[in-house]
Structures are given as structure tokens and as C-alpha cells.
Symmetry: C2
Subunit: 521 residues, 2 copies
């Protein structure tokens, strides 16, 4: 340490893309997560906290989000055995490792929830951080779609529990198998054949510069079509038709290359995208047309029917959870049902335009993650809540009371009587009231008031020599007096009607009375 005196002073700043969270930012998140954990617990899910650090080998080389395969992890090499370690980038890859490692001790199915930070070695940007919270619930080892249905109903209960009222959210369910069925219908051949590369003659369309490099061609079929489907909201039916076939001029005048399907091939995709009916039955009927004779498509539709029936039996109607073919989800690894929770109320964006709040959670079935370790396919399904987005939504809706929760500040008028002031705060705390003595230099009384202001203190307590002699204290309602407190002198300040002189023995009672009055106001 002594050596450091000679080196230049270190910069006091968090690393690029990292930030600190203060006070209510921390406690509000903790409270929300606690409510979520309560719902998960009631559903039989057990807590899991895996280590933040994993071997790179266990994580796998790439992020699951294939749209950003070049984005990485924070990794370093061990000094002794030269193994590479890395910070986890999500909570799902560690779950697969934990389940594979402890599978003989864990119950099957294994329902677990996990909450905590994850790290991404990405280029930071505005509102885009390299450390953020995730909150996941997954069921490992259950092949039944009842497990998927359960995740959906749990997500619905969770949103209501944290404060999103029914009607302000919708959980949309789709099935990746239906999409695969649509693909089979597009190419008139089984998925395996598409994947085996038999459509080599169509591949020219998929192998384009924008296509990520670590994927084999078979995946690109899906990805390009899926990406185009994802644009349905923005470009509409005709736009998607153009993007699937010969390409399209976008609003800026730039030409976007098409995927290269012919008109007939594009038809099932369009049918799929416009399949949403007024109720589940109608939607499912439309989907049947979109998948044609595809076996896997029929399977997917049957699963969606079962999910709808299971949810119906538990009272979750389509006002809470609905079949919606427009849900695609970015992650390539989903293999069956996928779901997404969207908040449907409107907010104003930074430019003052109305828009819907959008997605706060998503998930689906992924059956291959544990197999990487054990060679055995283990069915799994789960959901991840975007903690920061959900918190932002709750703040937007005024569901989080962000009013002052600062402490009562007992000011120091006479520094030799610190013991008296400490005794006061001890009394207040013992009565359950948040309270503290001013611990800075007490010389300047104005500084003490400024401090109380900065702390958003609801009440200040003053006991000078006169008060001490008369056995009284001054109690100041700072919420009432907030407007004038900052610049007033002690004398002016004392005259305000928001200040009360009470016997020392009434300290706790009077403070409590003021706090309760503030709560009611």
C-alpha cells in the first residue's frame, strides 16, 4: 500500500458499462424480487444460487442469443491449471450445469428459481449495462406441457403480485413446433431434410453477409424466416411478403435483401402471421391451415390446445394468457412452447409519443441444454423476467411508493451532549422509527438542515441549551416545512407553524404523530 503513494491517484469511477445502485433503487428491486420469490415458492419452486463464476467449458463458447454471437463473456485463465473461467452471462446455462452435476441428489422434475446479476462483455450504451439482474424459474425433467402451462399461470400470478393489474398485461403463448410446421409447409419436406441441407439449392439466400458465422446453414433457414416474422409488427403483411421473397425498399429508401422464397412458399408464413383469431379455437383452426400436412406442426398445435385447456381449467382465461402466433422469441434454442409477457398499457416515450410498454418476460421449452453435459436429453422449460424493465414499469404505473423514507434527524446543538442526542435516537429506534443523530461537524446548523434535506428526512429534532433547561424539545415537520427550510435562518425556521415544542418525554409520541400525519396526506 505504501508504494501507491508514489503512483498517480486512481480514477474514482465504475468501469465502463457498470453502475452503482443507491438506496431505494436497491430496496425496491429487493422488495419486488421478494414478492416474485413468494409466488415461485407457492408454486413449489426451490431457490438456487449457483456460483457467479463458471468454467468457460461449462458455459459453452457462445451466448445463447444467436443474434449476437460475437458478444462475449468476461473470462480469465486460472494460474495453476490454466483453465478458463468466466462470469455467467445468464442463469440458464448455470442451471444446466448444476442439474447435470447434482442430478442424483435433486428431485425430478426439478423446479427451481434463481435471481441475481449476470454479466455480458458487450459494448455498453445508453441504458445498456454489462451487469444486470435476471430472475428465472425453470422446470427441468418434465416433458409434459403441463409444465409449460404452469410457468404461464405462475407468470400471470407474479405480475399481479408485484402490482401489474389484470388487463394491463397479456401473456402470449406460441409453439416453436408450429413454426417448424410452417417451414415444412413452405419447403414441402420434413424438417430433418431441410436441416440436412437437401435444400442446398435454396441456401444461397441464407448465406448472406448479415448471417452470423458460427451457425451451420441448416439453422439459417429458420433464423432468416424467424427474423422476418419478427418484423411483422413493423412492416405488416405486405412488408413481410416482400422480405420473404424478393426484398423491399425500407422507409429510408434503402433496399433490404429478400430471403428468396417464391410467392407460393411465402404463403404459409403469411397465413401463420395472420392466423390470430378472436379466440383460441379460431386461432388454432387458422394455424392448422398454415402448417398443412406437417406432422410436427400438428404436434405443436395439439400442445397449444392442451396448454389452453389446462389454463382454462385453472381459471386463466384469454384475458390473461392467449395463443398468439406472433411470438417468436429471439433465442434459437427453444424447441416447443414459447411465451412472452407484455405490458399493454401506454406510456409516453422520450419524444412524447404514446407507445405500449412492451415485453417484460419471456421463455419457453428448451430440451438440449443438459444433454451437452450428460449425453442424455432432459426436457426443460422456463421463464426469465426482465427485472429492470419490470421495475421501470411499476414505477411508471406509480406502483412503487417513492416518497421520502429518510430518517428522523436529531440535530446536534451542543456537541458535549452527544450522549443526550444518542439517547433520543435510541428511544425512537426502539419504537421502530428510523432515526439518526447528525454525525458531521455540528458547528454550522445550516449544514445540519441541508443534510436533513438531502436525506429527505421527514422530521428533525432540536434540543438546544434552552430546551434542555426547560425539559422540552423542538420537533420540526420537514415535509410541511420543506419549501422554506433550505434558506431560512434558525430563527426564521423556529417560527414556522410546522415546528412544535413538546416535553422531552413526549418525543416519541409527537414524532410518531407527525409521521402518521405525513402518511395520510
Amino acid at each position: 500500500m505504501a508504494k501507491q503513494k508514489k503512483s498517480p491517484r486512481p480514477k474514482a469511477e465504475a468501469p465502463k458499462g457498470f453502475r452503482d445502485y443507491f438506496g431505494a433503487e436497491v430496496t425496491e428491486r429487493a422488495e419486488m424480487l421478494q414478492k416474485i420469490a413468494g409466488v415461485y415458492h407457492r408454486y413449489g419452486f426451490d431457490a438456487l444460487e449457483s456460483s457467479a463464476v463458471e468454467t468457460v467449458e461449462a458455459l459453452g463458447k457462445y451466448l445463447p442469443d444467436v443474434d449476437r454471437p460475437n458478444e462475449g463473456v468476461f473470462a480469465w485463465q486460472e494460474a495453476d491449471d490454466e483453465k478458463w473461467l468466466a462470469l455467467r452471462y445468464d442463469l440458464t446455462a448455470p442451471l444446466a450445469r448444476v442439474y447435470a452435476e447434482h442430478r442424483n441428489d435433486l428431485p425430478t422434475p426439478y423446479r427451481r428459481y434463481a435471481m441475481g446479476p449476470v454479466w455480458r462483455n458487450e459494448k455498453p450504451g445508453p441504458g445498456r449495462f454489462r451487469q444486470f439482474y435476471q430472475c428465472d424459474a425453470d422446470t427441468v425433467g418434465a416433458a409434459s406441457v403441463a409444465a409449460d402451462a404452469e410457468i404461464c399461470s405462475m407468470l400471470s400470478d407474479t405480475l399481479e403480485e408485484v402490482g401489474i393489474p389484470r388487463g394491463d398485461y397479456i401473456i402470449r403463448v406460441n409453439n416453436r413446433k408450429v413454426l417448424n410446421g410452417v417451414l415444412e409447409n413452405v419447403f414441402k419436406m420434413p424438417l430433418e431434410q431441410i436441416q440436412a441441407g437437401v435444400t442446398e439449392q435454396n441456401m444461397q439466400f441464407w448465406v448472406q453477409a448479415k448471417v452470423v458465422t458460427n451457425l451451420t446453414k441448416d439453422r439459417q433457414v429458420h433464423l432468416d424466416v424467424l427474423r422476418t416474422i419478427d418484423k411483422f409488427d413493423k412492416v405488416g403483411e405486405e412488408g413481410v411478403r416482400e422480405l420473404l421473397t424478393k426484398g423491399r425498399l425500407d422507409a429510408s429508401g434503402a433496399f433490404i435483401d429478400g430471403v428468396g422464397l417464391n410467392e407460393e412458399q411465402a404463403e404459409p408464413v403469411i397465413a401463420f402471421l395472420t392466423s390470430k383469431g378472436t379466440n383460441s379455437e379460431e386461432t388454432l383452426e387458422n394455424l392448422r391451415k398454415a402448417v398443412g400436412d406437417s406432422q410436427i406442426g400438428a404436434e405443436g398445435i395439439a400442445e397449444l390446445e392442451q396448454i389452453a385447456a389446462l389454463l382454462e381449467a385453472q381459471g386463466y382465461g384469454s384475458e390473461r394468457i392467449e395463443i398468439d402466433p406472433s411470438v417468436v422469441r429471439g433465442l434459437g434454442y427453444y424447441t416447443g412452447p414459447v411465451f412472452e409477457a407484455e405490458l399493454t398499457f401506454e406510456i409516453f416515450d422520450e419524444k412524447g409519443r404514446k407507445r405500449q410498454f412492451g415485453s417484460v418476460a419471456g421463455g419457453g421449452r428448451y430440451d438440449d441444454l443438459v444433454k451437452r453435459f450428460t449425453g442424455q436429453a432432459v426436457p426443460a422449460t422456463g421463464v426469465s423476467i426482465g427485472v429492470d424493465r419490470l421495475l421501470a414499469a411499476l414505477r411508471e404505473k406509480g406502483r412503487i411508493k417513492s416518497h421520502a423514507t429518510g430518517p428522523v434527524v436529531v440535530t446536534v446543538m451542543d456537541r458535549d451532549r452527544m450522549a443526550d442526542y444518542q439517547a433520543m435516537v435510541a428511544e425512537l429506534r426502539n419504537a421502530g422509527i428510523r432515526a439518526e443523530v447528525y454525525l458531521g461537524n455540528p458547528k454550522n446548523f445550516g449544514n445540519q438542515l441541508k443534510y436533513a434535506d438531502k436525506r429527505q428526512s421527514p422530521v428533525a429534532v432540536i434540543e438546544g441549551g434552552d430546551e434542555k433547561a426547560n425539559g422540552v424539545v423542538q420537533i420540526k415537520d420537514l415535509v410541511l416545512g420543506a419549501k422554506i427550510a433550505e434558506n431560512a435562518t434558525l430563527e426564521e425556521w423556529k417560527e414556522r407553524p410546522s415546528q412544535f415544542e413538546v416535553p422531552r418525554s413526549d418525543l416519541v409520541a409527537k414524532v410518531r404523530e407527525i409521521l402518521e400525519g405525513q402518511k395520510d396526506a
Copy 2:
């Protein structure tokens, strides 16, 4: 991802020295931390969650614990600007960075608490992990010893709040200045002169192989004496006298080099170590003799007197917080009061020997950390709770109820009626009862019972075809039936008196009745 199929399977294991926490391990810790946060909040402390990652520059090169300067951090280099980043090794270094960075926006004094994992790149060992929780509270910007006294009373309240009863713990307070005073009395010169190396002629004793390499000689004076003082508990007065002077044969017959003081110089140290009296007054009186004419020693004693008076005024007597000269604390950076919370009840160690539980928290005043960044000395004091040790203590004392909190399991007798079973769990959950449907393959009923057993389920619900036809359900008290449940057939199992047949409409009421009966038992 497709490429990974060709590479050998990754090993499913957490990295060396890291571990996973399951179920109650996670929730019990969370509950304890929540209680602690409640006390800290009541004392006016605000939550802070700084980023887990810091620049190595901001952390400083070494861990604060100078006994292990070669132990390091997990660090890596940024790709673009080649800056070194690292995982935080404690919560204090980040606090110094945060305070320096945000000092214009933060109140002064700034009281903050922080809870979360920290990481040490150390050799892992049994019970020694490279990721563990810390829970800190610090006051930055308050020079007054009232801030130190407050930390002590808060620590006392915290221990009682989480479940350590009064009498089972003691908080010991000392002052580094008193130790420095003792050193001045030993060398008969001001501390500055000792530190300036004027005692070069004594230095031969400090410069020994066992002395860590990144410390300048001035620090070694303190460290060697402090280390010896720390051995008082083990070797007693005569042992310390030998270690301070010419050395000592230890129990194994090995010779331990002495620090090299003469008999007269050793005397103040011995006086200091044996200064504890039956009350604070007596202890302070003894300490006055140990520090002799030392100015800094007198200052330290005056501070201890003030702390004792402040605590007394708040009702914290010496049965909770006492002056104890034997507290040294390992960290070299403390500059004033130091404190340590020890649990005084006895436990049995792994060899069946009685011993005291020991230390669960410690801290003190450190006035130099922020200065590294700003050049300006900022007084600070704080405490860190050993989260895992305190949890272990609470489990030891039976303060954490670890009884079964598994879910009610609704078994699946007829897989086509999954919707019926889901409706049952929905009813139970809506009544606030933790419940789930068995989601594995329902074919083998025995597996369902084994699953319920593994989950420590309190109750199982059964509705086969007959029950359905008769409008009833079977409800099994698994706690009562635990002994025989595992190997019994369904028929045997049904005959047990711990199983009840009730109308379907009484499902929730009966389950609740059984759960309440289990709670009372």
C-alpha cells in the same frame, strides 16, 4: 453451438473453490440479511449496491489483509482500452471508490450498508470458498467517535434481531491509538519517529523471512508486535513475553524467533494485554499505565471513554459492549476504534471438544481509503458481518427452523385428467398453500411418492378414477406417514390412518387442517 457436438462433453462441475446453494440455504440467508437490513435502515443507513466489477486501479493492488498480500483478485484485461478489471474482493474498497465518485451527490456523513458476494482468488480449501457473502455498514465523513459508538450499538441490535439472545454475544471495543501509544511507550519515542525509521538499529528484528514483502519497514514494527499480541489467547502472558523478546519453544518443540525487544520494552505490551479489569473504568485506568506518557495513547483512551459513555447513555451496558484491549483485528488499515462481535456460547467442534463459537463480525475506523482517490482525508468507520459464520451460529442455536417446507404434491393417477389436478393446485395456491402437480412421468405411482419424499412434502393428494366417480379425494399426511411411505404399495399405503378421504369440495380445508396440525406438533 452445432460445433460443440463434435468436441468432448464439458465437465458438469462448478469451478474449484466455488459452490452452489440450494433451497433453504438461499432463503435462510436472504431472510437473515433482510432482518439485518431492517436494523441498518432503522439506524438511518441507506442501501448501496455497487458493481461487482471494478478497475484494478480503483481496487488497489493488494488485499487489505496484509497477512495475505500475495493472495489476489480475479482480474482480466479489457479488449479495447487494455484496462484491467477485477471482481471486488470486499465491500469497503468499492465504497471508497463510490464515495469518491459521487461525493457531491451523497449526503455527508454518508451512512450506507451493502450486502453481496465478494471474490478472492485464493487457494480453496475445506470450508474456504473463493466466492462468499459480506454484509457491511459504514459511515463515511464522520470524524466523531459517536459514529463508532453507533456502529457498536447497531451491531448489538442486529445480533439480537437475527436471533442471538443477549448474553450469548459480546461486542469488544479497542482503539488502535492505544496500541500505538503502547508502541510509543515501548520505544520511548513518538510514533512518527518509529515510522520514520529512526529505530533503524531495532529493525533487524523486523526484517525477517516471514515478513511480507510489500510492506515498508515502518509497518513491520506494528505488525510483528500486533501479531504477537494476537497470540495472547493461545500462549498466555509468559508466552507473549518470550515471543516479544528472545523467542520461544512451542509445544511441538520448534523454536519461534522472538521480536527482539528487551525485557523493559516488553513490559508496556504485557501491561496492555493484562489491562482488562472488571469494568470499563478499571480497564481504562490500567491502559493509562500501559501507554505511559504517549500523547496518542491518551487520545485513544479518551476516545474509548467517550464511546463507553455514549453507549451507556443509550442503555448498552458492558454485558453487551465492553472495552477489551485484546481486540486487535487483522487489518493494518484501522486507525482508531476497532470492534469485534464474538458469540460466547459453547459448541462442540468436529472432534467433540467444547469450544466457544467465536467471532462473527468486526470492524473499525479507517481514515485513509478515500484519500487514495481524492487526496483529501475522509474519516470513515464501519463493520462487516461474516454472513456464513453468523448463519452457522443461528443454525447451531436452533434459531432457524429447518423443518420441511416442501409443497403439497397432487399426484397424477390419470394422465388425461391433468386439468383436474391443475385445478386442485390452483385452489390450494389461491388459499396461500404451497402446492404443485407431479410433472414427471406419472406411470409409476411409487416414483411419485418417492418424489414427494425427496421434496419433503407435508401432504399428498390422490384422485384416481374411483375417487373421481365418488366426488372425493384422498389426502395423505406425509409427515405422519413418513416412516412407512417409501416402500409401501399403493394399497398398503391407502390403509394407513394418516390418510383421509374427504369430499372434493373439502380439499383445501382438510389440507389446511393437516398442515396446521403438523405445525403444532
